[in-house]
Symmetry: C2
Subunit: 353 residues, 2 copies
DNA sequence: AATTTTTTGAGACACGTGCCTCAAATTGCT
DNA sequence: AGCAATTTGAGGCACGTGTCTCAAAAAATT
């Protein structure tokens, strides 16, 4: 019955040093350690150094759980989003509301605040209202403008964590949650290029608007890939629907008439309903490979019914949870350890929904 | 300068009820509440009911942070994995070691234990050693056998959380971390089917072995999709390399010789190195669409150099973190709230690595 | 040297829960 | 009714940190 069991080594993990250990190591009292840790005034530089040195030597990291308990702190994060209508945004909002329970181990509350994306002044004013410790952090989805950039900067100075979310602010920012739009565009191009079986032709690109940085980046990535690897294809100028169904119908059917050699269709904005339903109704483009963005009830259905061939998506749940984790890390002052989860550019086919 | 600011409603969130509140509501003492909450003996059923009722009415949830603090509890999770060599497994192990710091807000330690996947008895013996509270949970990657299934069952009885990980155990289990292999196979088929531009022909399927449940499921999904939607293609019987390079070379080149109408290649095991490097060296199959599994330095390089056309992958980091979150939830007794994150069947192309 | 100012320490209490002891209250039994 | 067993309560200390207060010590000023 006895066999040589695999070696099982269970060393107790070294208990983490506490503020008490710190105090002893630095030769000061716990009160002073506290003063240093929480940046209070009236501590001699020499003492600060001693404590800091001890922190390094012991590898001390404060027990955030205990700290939050003592402070009875709860995190409140605000998601500043555009007004909706958009299915993708609806899903994001749903995930935000869902996120609470999933973080049961931390006292986290998330609010959604709708902001008028076209009024930078209002956005800045809104951000100006937010203050620590009422609000621990904000995830912001809004176009990048000087006012907004400024407001964000001041937020950080006031101790409110902030994070560009999905769209808008420059990726140059150290922290950012959202997918790489250039790669997303390139991936759409790759799929359309490879799905095409009818040789040379042109590709239609439809967008709600090309105003936003995201749309531009997707388009750039798309063109780069087409030009580099599918010389037989040429992508047409972007059609902008401005969210107007009638306008969309006109420009799309015009394009179909004028380009009998259509080989692919790329719907690059996150709201695919208008163009996709127009396309689905047009018998001439039934078998032309089509790629759209974001998983929504609509696109999902379209994929299943094969009126769409692929979806380029970013997982709404991951986006939200990643944002929360990052905001929390920043808010805890663990800027060094902010999780650097990339948001994947997902390719959804009928088979892997 | 003043504009109508957007409405900002910051209601303080209702503080969560504490055991004190519970005691008051149930009309008992905190000691009794403790007895009920922690299932201690010697409490009258009537009293238990009173407390339980109060729990429901208040919506009480114990503050796990505070509880862990009081217990000075740390979570120790074991990942029981096969002996390695495999790049994908290496990546998993890397992510396990990486996971610690990313969970800074909880005292979590993860160990990797290598088990001999072919000796169910040994595996069961190993699992038999694990006991709460030394070990809070185990993620198990091992073939499903009666012994192992039994050992897992007893683990749970001993209060050790357990979780089938990536491969092996039946998905029928309520909790499970890993991708849907049927969907993965179907996705590979879909890609090969759509990437093919040369009409009717056959598809080569290469695997290390077809012994495991995962391989079978992938194959089933693959065939189902090919048969349903690509009647012009027929998939050949699976080639099994058994991890032997020489054998692989023989059976692969035989298949290439005997099937001049090859239209696609599917490498379905997680270790693609042997078959993929053989294929890369054969000029006859240079332009045949090829799909493999799992992102590794090797497959990544192959994708970049275009000797591979797509990778079907599951994100190693997500797998590990998801497993940890689930183990923690189970271990905390929050079986109701175990996060039900699906592991996506990722499609990786050169453009979205 | 005397006085003020700055810096530090000692200690208490809090956060929500676990876990223990001892006594009090209640129940069941003979 | 008396005794034992069961059930409950009161209270304390602990976990690691935050946040006070008050006094002591050290340094800087007059």
């Amino acid at each position: 019955m006895l066999t040589k069991n695999p070696p099982l080594t269970i060393e107790k993990p070294m208990p983490r040093p506490t503020t008490k250990d710190l105090a002893k190591a630095a030769g000061v009292s716990r009160a002073t350690v506290d003063r240093v840790l929480n940046g209070r005034e009236g501590v001699h530089q020499k003492t600060v150094d001693r404590v800091t040195k001890a922190i390094d030597e012991l590898g001390f990291e404060r027990n955030i759980q205990a700290a939050n308990l003592a402070r009875s702190k709860h995190y409140r994060f605000v998601f500043a989003l555009p007004r909706s209508g958009d299915h993708f945004l609806d899903e994001i909002i749903h995930q935000i509301n869902e996120a609470g329970p999933s973080f049961t181990s931390d006292p986290i509350v998330c609010d959604v605040q709708h902001i008028d994306e076209n009024d930078p002044h209002k956005i800045a004013a809104f951000l100006g209202q937010l203050n620590a410790p009422d609000i621990s952090g904000v995830a912001i989805m809004a176009p990048e403008t000087p006012q907004v950039r400024d407001a964000i900067y001041r937020l950080q100075e006031r101790g409110v964590a902030s994070l560009p979310f999905i769209s808008g602010q420059s990726m140059a920012n150290q922290h950012w949650v959202g997918m790489n739009n250039h790669a997303a565009g390139a991936t759409a191009a790759m799929l359309l290029g490879r799905f095409n079986r009818q040789g040379a032709g042109s590709i239609m690109v439809v967008s709600e608007s090309m105003q936003s940085r995201d749309s531009l980046e997707r388009r750039l990535g798309f063109d780069a890939e087409i030009n580099a690897h599918f010389p037989e294809l040429s992508s047409l100028p972007s059609l902008e629907t401005y969210g107007d169904k009638d306008r969309a119908e006109v420009i799309i059917s015009n394009t179909i008439q004028n380009n009998p050699d259509l080989r692919g269709i790329y719907v690059l904005s996150s709201e695919a309903r208008i163009p996709a339903s127009i396309l689905a109704a047009d018998p001439q483009v039934q078998h032309i490979p089509t790629v759209a963005h974001e998983r929504t009830p609509f696109t999902e259905e379209a994929l299943k019914s094969r009126s769409l061939d692929a979806i380029i998506a970013q997982d709404a749940g991951h986006l939200v949870r990643s944002a929360i984790r990052k905001l929390k890390a920043i808010s805890d002052g663990r800027t060094k350890h902010v999780p650097q989860e990339r948001i994947r550019v997902e390719v959804l086919l009928k088979t892997n929904l």
